[in-house]
């Protein structure tokens, strides 16, 4: 397994008054392990722009994924896109990033702001080759990837932010690079970095964007395995088996659930020390077991994690909460969303009779549902998930 992987996240804001975004991002994972990211910006805004950009990104990602050449892709787009009745052109700018084996990236850029690459905290000026395909000027680059490289792909709505209000000529690409540099050392996820950039654009637009603006961040990082134990096994005799499989895994270990952590503490022969600090009124306190990275309560905490995960995938408004707070759910979020790339779930299917009380919102079915929903969310964040039931 390659030690590096790509963390990809994006966020858009729409032209003021529009309900659709004229920018479109597609991320395709191919069977050979390579990943194709396409950011397309359709001419204008609203429905027309949305159709143009969606078609463009879908055509490119599908054709590149099928191994067709760039020339073919561009020709197909030129021949397929519907022509705008007002402007008599079919037009969508695009940026393609193809990541092969997490050690090389191919960039193909057509008329979007040039991709920013931050390496070791500084902007890195990568070489570009100019090509002419169907009369379009296209820049191509091949870049060897390094750990912690951060690529920022954007539509022109980003550098246009603040034109005429905050800045005379908008927020220049160099300014954006400087802005993003300040967040480079923090270790934010790609999704959070793109949110920070887009929030700033929205602020410069005064909350009324004059154009669709999209940022897509690709962060090259080391693979980080993580293991999460949730619930005791349905058969008591399987406790030791479940524990030995869990603790033999590489990476950090998280245990969720009171009974579960009691079993783990017994297995390890270490005391379980619950804390009495209520950092968040909705989340029960955490505990400590020597040799375990994090011990929390079960269903209520995981439920909170799931609600953060759903928000992360949509508006990402609560990162300012789980990103800093010290309650069990926030701690799990930071480990799963930010640190982990490969997550193994060890889920026990024991039914806690005390939880089968109709007055309590924590019965067995809810617990299983939580696992399914949370692993779906994590997959959408680009994580590799394995769930084992006991």
């Amino acid at each position: 397994m390659n030690k590096l992987c790509a963390d990809i996240g994006y966020r858009s804001i729409f032209h003021d008054g529009e309900e659709l975004c004229g920018d479109h991002v597609d991320v395709i994972e191919q069977e050979d392990g390579s990943t194709v990211v396409v950011l397309a910006d359709g001419l204008g805004s609203g429905v027309k722009a949305s159709i143009l950009s969606t078609l463009t990104s879908k055509i490119i990602s599908t054709m590149i994924a099928a191994g067709l050449s760039l020339e073919d892709c561009v020709q197909t787009i030129a021949a397929t896109l519907p022509v705008c009745s007002e402007r008599h052109v079919a037009y969508s700018t695009f940026t393609i990033m193809r990541i092969v084996d997490s050690n090389e990236a191919e960039l193909i850029q057509y008329d979007n702001p040039a991709v920013i690459l931050l390496r070791d905290g500084e902007e890195y000026d990568y070489p570009k080759t100019e090509l002419s395909i169907e009369g379009k000027k296209i820049f191509q680059s091949r870049i060897r990837l390094c750990e912690n490289d951060v690529f920022v792909l954007m539509s022109d709505g980003c550098p246009h932010a603040g034109i005429g209000t905050e800045y005379n000529f908008g927020w220049q690409r160099e300014d954006i690079a400087e802005f993003m540099k300040t967040f480079y050392p923090v270790g934010y996820t790609a999704k959070t970095l793109s949110t920070i950039l887009i929030d700033e654009c929205n602020r410069l637009y005064g909350g009324k964007p004059g154009d669709d603006a999209t940022a897509c961040v690709v962060r090259i990082r080391r693979r980080e395995p993580m293991n999460l134990l949730f619930g005791p096994p349905s058969n008591r005799d399987d406790c030791d088996k479940m524990m030995s499989l869990f603790f033999s895994k590489e990476g950090k270990h998280i245990i969720c659930g009171g009974t579960t952590s009691t079993i783990a503490a017994k297995y390890l022969g270490k005391p379980l020390k619950p804390k009495l600090e209520f950092v968040d009124k909705d989340v029960p306190p955490i505990a400590e077991i020597e040799g375990v990275d994090l011990v929390t309560e079960g269903v209520i905490t995981i439920n909170k994690v799931l609600s953060y995960a759903k928000d992360y995938l949509s508006d990402n408004e609560s990162y300012s909460q789980w990103g800093v707070k010290r309650d069990g759910a926030s701690l799990i979020c930071r480990l799963l969303f930010e640190e982990a790339t490969d997550i193994n779930f060890f889920v026990g299917r024991a039914i806690n009779p005390a939880h089968q009380n109709p007055d309590l919102p924590i019965n067995f079915n809810i617990k299983m549902q939580l696992v399914t929903e949370l692993s779906d969310c994590l997959k959408k964040m680009g994580k590799r998930i394995k769930v084992s039931y006991f």
Binding site: T259, T262, L272, P274, K275, L276, P284, I362
Partner: protein
């Protein structure tokens, strides 16, 4: 004296946070910090009777409404 409050899922939903906070307040108001050790534990297996609280191993069922009464009867009287 050791007082342990269950902070498991079921007891949490029944108000263990309020019970812990009330007890923390009562213990410091009565200057019992040196004689009473307040701790937490995960599920004690008596969820039906939550919030479960033990005083030197003896199990009591407490709720946020009854915590003052519980403190007077079972902690204050014994600690003095």
């Amino acid at each position: 004296m050791k007082v342990t409050v269950c902070i498991g899922s079921s007891c949490h939903l029944k108000g263990s946070r309020q019970v812990v906070e009330a007890l923390q307040g009562l213990i410091s108001d009565n200057n019992l910090k040196d004689s009473v050790e307040l701790g937490g534990t995960f599920c004690m297996g008596n969820c039906q009777q939550g919030v479960c609280v033990t005083v030197d191993g003896e199990l009591y069922s407490v709720s946020p409404e009854t915590v003052d009464e519980f403190f007077e009867e079972n902690i204050l009287s014994r600690a003095k």
